[in-house]
Amino acid sequence: MNAPNSFRAQPDETGHFGPFGGRYVAETLMPLILDLDKAWQAAKADPAFQAEFEDLLEHYVGRPSPLYHAERLTEALRENAPEGMGAQVWFKRDELNHTGAHKINNCIGQILLAMRMGKTRIIAETGAGQHGVATATVCARFGLPCVIYMGAKDIVRQQPNVFRMKLLGAEVRACESGSKSLKDAMNEAMRDWVANVHDTFYIIGTAAGPHPYPELVRDFQSVIGREARAQMLSRIDRLPDLLVAAIGGGSNAIGLFHPFLDDADVAMLGVEAAGHGLDKQHAASLAGGAPGILHGNKTYLLQDEDGQIDEAHSISAGLDYPGIGPEHSWLHSIGRVEYTSATDTEALDAFQLLCRTEGIIPALEPSHAIAAVARRAREMKRDQIILANLCGRGDKDIFTVAEALGVAI
């Protein structure tokens, strides 16, 4: 495939990223999707909408998030690196946002869009609960009723976030079908939406689903990469050599990557969840899947030869999804972004490493990114820079981690 003039000009007007993306939804939803696209295109071009979004990001979310040079982690990784090797590790601190993850950036944008469209009821799906908490938060902030769909299995392993959502006034509905995790929550949310199209706005949590969701979620999350790019230039007057981010659906990763896509010297690495291992149960759609159609878009999916969707597994509920956002499938297919994976065990090791070296308890999702950083840093020179997205904090995960480490709390 020939290199395009810009990697930042996708999707086309029909919502396709090369062969990926699109609008594979039931006819009942199609008029709504078209309305949403019209409203989104108008909002995007409206300075008042952008100003309100940016004002809330600054004063309610707490942006810009810091850019942090992790010197003790860098030193720890250099101990096992060959002579002269061991890149500097920097973090974009999106775990310091209000609600503890990057998810809030997108929720602010989508609820403003929902109100602009006159919608009066909000629904969302959630895996780890971070998107559910962020959605419940913005619904409380703007006074809209909120229903969160969550897999029954995830409700058990993310109890603190379930309680948070309830405190914020949301109704949490358990999904007992299928794998009882994120994909089933998404199925239930779409069933709710199709039955309540007149008044309901569906706040999708990741850069996936039917067009225009992958585009609008990316654009709301791109604040991460825009800030990081400006912060790098102002702090050390250069761009990083490598960007690293964890990928479930891929919203934090596309948010970091997108503003850098046309910086030819900046390499990028997306990290999927390898679960128990790529030869066992995992959630690495690019590494172990094939293109298919699910949840409104064409993208890489974990599936069998008949197109039945396989159940994903990751210790991180937020990465436990058998698909990936369509823009990542496209960036993978054209080779602009490299994708790798980290297992549950590698993520747990990286989680503990960051706790001890930097005094930061990361979520299990970015722990996958940190595991990949640890592998890459030793292969890169000392004057090179890795910038990883610390997209969530780990308070919600301490019970899962304790159980995995055999510790009773």
Partner: protein
């Protein structure tokens, strides 16, 4: 004339009956399909089970789970269709399902396999006209009808796009929602059918939430066909491999009601 157009040219409106292939097992489906035909179904809609049936309510979700749990594969569904075609040379058979199982081996593969199995039409829930290229051209060149869906949200501006490339019949989904939940008000159905029939010459069948002979008869007075699904699937769920007798008895009540409805109009 195709098998589908013949079915809609009868003296009574067509009874379109849905069951999920492979529910409760692939071996049990043939007898259930025979019961539908014996009971008076004019068109068979054979559901292709999918792990993530986003547009379906609890009854058909459960049928998908039972079928996949019994090990139903795409090859089994095609075998069920082919054997049905051999037993019932005149009864039209429509496959209904989701995009991924239909397109995973390529649209051309699916169209050829469906043609070989004697399938007359295909309904794909999650390929709207905007994504027609993913399946439509392959079906049309194989001579299989692509049956489009119209819904309460399909407005006048959008209807031409839905009708462009539609054939066989137009399936009016009378409720904005999932299968098997509630039925639309009769007045709204009558308005919608009148609007659709003014825009197209292909037959209009109405479904979603149709359960009782009275509902079926009321729709039969205005539409060219009545689609019944969840109520049949619930009988299969309750009776398993013993479902053929109660399914036939139930279909007979619907069939009698639909025939009666048209006679009332004639008289």
């Amino acid at each position: 004339m195709t098998r589908l157009s013949n079915a809609f040219a009868k003296a009574h409106p067509a009874l379109v009956a849905f069951v999920t292939a492979g529910d409760p097992t692939p071996a049990d489906t043939a007898a259930i399909l025979d019961a539908l035909v014996a009971g008076g179904a004019d068109v068979i809609e054979l559901g292709m089970p999918f792990t993530d049936p986003m547009a379906d309510g609890p009854a058909i979700q459960a049928a998908n789970i039972r079928s996949l749990g019994a090990g139903t594969r795409t090859a089994d569904i095609l075998s069920i269709a082919k054997a049905f075609r051999a037993r019932h040379p005149e009864t039209p058979l429509v496959l209904m399902g989701y995009a991924n199982p239909m397109t995973i081996r390529g649209a051309d593969w699916f169209a050829a396999a469906a043609k070989d199995a004697g399938v007359d039409g295909v309904i794909c829930v999650d390929i709207p006209p905007e994504e027609d290229a993913a399946l439509g051209p392959a079906l049309r060149s194989a001579g299989i009808d692509l049956i489009r869906l119209a819904t309460p949200t399909t407005d006048a501006a959008r209807l031409p796009a839905v009708l462009d490339g539609a054939s066989g019949f137009l399936y009016y989904v009378s409720v904005a929602g999932i299968t098997g939940k509630q039925q639309a008000a009769q007045a709204s159905i009558e308005d919608a059918v009148a609007r659709l029939k003014a825009a197209t010459d292909i037959p209009v069948a109405v479904g979603f939430g149709v359960r009782t002979p009275e509902q079926a008869a009321a729709i039969a007075r205005v539409a060219d066909g009545v689609v019944v699904g969840s109520a049949i699937v619930e009988l299969v769920g309750a009776h398993g491999k013993d479902a053929p007798a109660p399914v036939r008895a139930y279909i007979e009540t619907l069939s009698a009601a639909i025939r009666g409805a048209r006679q009332e109009i004639a008289a």
